[in-house]
């Protein structure tokens, strides 16, 4: 192991980070293990009891942190801001307080200008019990995120939790500088059940898990380019890739937006007629398209790398 002269408890921190599943971990565990040992400082922590003012009206239980942890820590010695959603509390959904903490963190990052932000998404979207406040929160977060990026801040989204990244979470993810996703991660705006409810089972069978994952899951999002990195489901993998993305992610200006717009237009032109993700993979020239869903993370990462080398060769 390459961990010379670290105190024993830091060695164990590193070892636990290597073996802990991102998917299985709580938001608090993800934050604790993502940053350097003991470096996390929470803003508006649970002891301040800033809970939702709406849930009690519906006789529903509250959570002391309203399902989100915001604060500051160090990664490899450098300061970062973090916002982490807890997907098991009300599906990680956005409410008034949850959104205000998120917005406040991004505004702090905007004003500080030099500290990157990691967003640990795990959300089904807006909390239905406080829908108006939640929708406003999404709008405020997107505005604050873009202002932060315009001020020069890198905002990196990490997606691999059990609730996925849906609804307004999908919109916010689309505003980030870069995204890292694991196989378990999903990104979309309308979720599978919502599509089926509105358009019928012929349009989208939400109980077909293979369909859900190859349409919204991590591998497809990486292949399409919506996510810039695919990672294995460990906290260490997310940490390594996040560190890399802080430096490699594009800045924010008109030329970047034009490049992104051109990319989206090209994607629509090339794949607009495809009716299934697998058709898109074939159209991309992936030789073993059928094997992609069952491929383990290491093989898939190798496939992505060989594909990239191919593109380099073509150039």
């Amino acid at each position: 192991m390459n961990t010379p002269n670290l105190p024993a408890r830091q060695v164990s921190h590193v070892a636990i980070r290597e073996t802990t599943s991102w998917y299985e971990a709580s938001a608090r565990e993800r934050v604790r293990l993502l940053v350097d040992a003991g470096s996390f400082e929470e803003f508006i922590g649970p002891e301040q009891r800033e809970t939702s003012p709406h849930l009690r009206v519906f006789d529903l239980p509250e959570q002391f942190d309203d399902g989100i942890i915001v604060g500051r820590g160090k990664i490899a010695g450098a300061s970062v801001f973090l916002a982490a959603q807890e997907g098991r509390f009300m599906g990680g959904a956005f409410g008034e307080v949850h959104g205000a903490k998120f917005t406040g963190l991004l505004r702090a990052a905007r004003d500080m200008k030099s500290i990157p932000v990691f967003i640990l998404f795990d959300t089904g979207g807006v909390r239905l019990q406080e829908a108006n406040a939640g929708e406003l929160a999404i709008a405020e977060i997107m505005r604050a995120l873009i202002e932060a990026r315009a001020a020069g801040v890198k905002v990196v989204g990490l997606i691999g939790g059990r609730a996925g990244c849906y609804g307004g979470g999908g919109l916010i993810a689309g505003c980030c500088s870069a995204l890292a996703i694991s196989e378990q991660g999903r990104i979309s705006v309308s979720g599978p059940e919502v599509i089926e409810t509105n358009r019928g089972v012929e349009e989208f069978d939400s109980r077909d898990r293979a369909l859900v994952w190859r349409t919204m899951g991590g591998k497809h999002r990486r292949l399409l380019g919506s996510a810039s990195a695919f990672v294995d489901d460990t906290i260490a993998s997310f940490r390594n890739v996040a560190l890399h993305l802080i430096t490699s992610a594009p800045g924010f200006d008109v030329s970047m937006l034009e490049v992104e717009q051109a990319g989206l237009e090209e994607r629509l032109e090339r794949f607009g007629a495809c009716s299934d993700a697998m058709d898109i993979w074939r159209a991309m020239g992936i030789s073993q398209a059928e094997a992609v869903p069952a491929m383990d993370a290491q093989d898939f990462i190798a496939l992505m790398n060989s594909d990239r080398e191919q593109q380099h060769d073509d150039q």
Partner: protein, 105 residues
């Protein structure tokens, strides 16, 4: 929602020096426990907000057993409960005390 409150005398002070710890998540059949070191050394307080109404006697039994076993002197434990079973509650209470007693990591 039902709110319950218990204040008990303990055998000894809880170990460690951390002032606050949080464990668990509010979900169906699960709960969160916020532990704060804010009371005199031989006292313990447990505040419960629960979605499952009418189980005060069971809560009393679980809390009394917990205080007897762990002696969480000086701690205030605040619980948001999503309808967890008594064994889950007992486990989370024990984990929460262990968390505030261990070194900062």
């Amino acid at each position: 929602m039902e709110t319950l409150s218990y204040r008990l005398t303990t055998q000894q002070r809880a170990g460690g020096s951390k002032s606050v710890a949080l464990l668990g998540v509010v979900a169906s059949g699960n709960l969160e426990v916020l532990v704060e070191r804010v009371l005199p050394d031989m006292e313990c307080q447990v505040e419960v907000k629960t979605a499952a109404e009418g189980f005060a006697a069971v809560w009393m039994a679980v809390v009394a057993d917990f205080v007897e076993r762990r002696s969480p002197g000086g701690l205030k434990l605040s619980i948001n409960d999503g309808g967890a079973r008594p064994d889950t509650v007992a486990l989370r209470l024990a984990q929460a005390v262990r968390l505030i007693e261990e070194d900062d990591r």
